[in-house]
Symmetry: C2
Subunit: 162 residues, 2 copies
DNA sequence: CGTATAAATGCAATTTTGTTGCAGAAAGCG
DNA sequence: CGCTTTCTGCAACAAAATTGCATTTATACG
């Protein structure tokens, strides 16, 4: 038709990207509205969204909550350095970090650290207790370095879609 | 009624927190479904959600996109250290960082760094170009340290709701 | 080059979900 | 106590999402 369509494969065309662009900002945008934006019908938009969800392009649809409004006002960054590089110990650490609700994000990285964590807590004593559980309680953690966030300048999980 | 209600203030009761808990996971959950979970009527749930949106407790409703599925597969962490501490220069830096779509998150922190950025790019040359624009192009940036993410162990913006 | 096949689309009907008006119940307050 | 405010549920309503179906478009292939 007008745009380059996609066949059996997982390809996303310009219209799909535009849909994602909208949904990344506000996934409550009516399909009709999106349809008008990209000159498609609502059902077409709906099918594309469904397809992208099935394909995992869209991983989840979530509400973003302001931590401060629920009294979870302290954001922390932690660089964690591990002692041993044994795979099983890494996996155990990953599971441990992932399981903690205070750990909002956890990345395994290269460089001077092994993991980088983003943590949200209500109070510093809460953080202290968490470090005891996650780091001191894990004797494969060699050391960790904490940064305290003073301002959340930009927060989101939007992926750039050129 | 059954639960501790809220009056003029911004207080969130147990039911509000439960609603947030659901919406943080899947904001497409029908209000009727949530209503059943917490033993309320759908309109009651709808009003609570509306109120929390107006109050800013719910900041946004978004779709989470898998970066890899749109060929944006490199996640980077950058600790940025600034030269001068003059407020206006900080503000300028914040604006510059925030304006870049590749910068997914930006936090102003205490400690050995001033800013921590989470960046998503398609290729390393893209990152190189970005550093030139954001860091080398800003002569108030003293130095920056990059970590490359090898695995996104846990990614989200969920706030712990005890 | 035309024909067969697969894929995507639009429209209209249907279903599901969200929204609103209103009367009644619960909680705070003088 | 009785008044006021705030919620709530129910039922009607509006809006949005979803489905079936015929048609158009694109790709593959003879």
């Amino acid at each position: 038709m007008t745009e380059k369509p996609k066949h059996g494969s997982a390809e996303l065309d310009r219209l799909d990207l535009k849909i994602l662009d909208v949904l990344q900002r506000d996934n409550k945008t009516p399909q009709r509205t999106i349809a008008e934006m990209i000159h498609l019908s609502a059902p077409a938009v709906q099918r594309r969204i469904k397809r992208m969800e099935e394909f995992g392009v869209i991983q989840a649809n979530v509400a973003l909550v302001d931590p401060a409004k629920v009294d979870q006002s302290i954001t922390l960054f932690v660089e964690v350095e591990m002692e041993s590089e044994r795979a099983e110990l890494y996996e155990a650490a990953k599971r441990s970090f992932s399981a903690a609700p205070e750990v909002q994000q956890c990345y395994y990285v290269t460089g001077e650290a092994d993991f980088i964590l983003i943590i949200i807590v209500r109070t510093m004593p809460d953080y202290e207790a968490l470090t005891r559980k996650l780091f001191f309680g894990n004797n494969n953690v060699k050391r960790f370095r904490t940064f305290v966030s003073m301002e959340r300048v930009k927060v989101g999980l939007s992926v750039p879609l050129e």
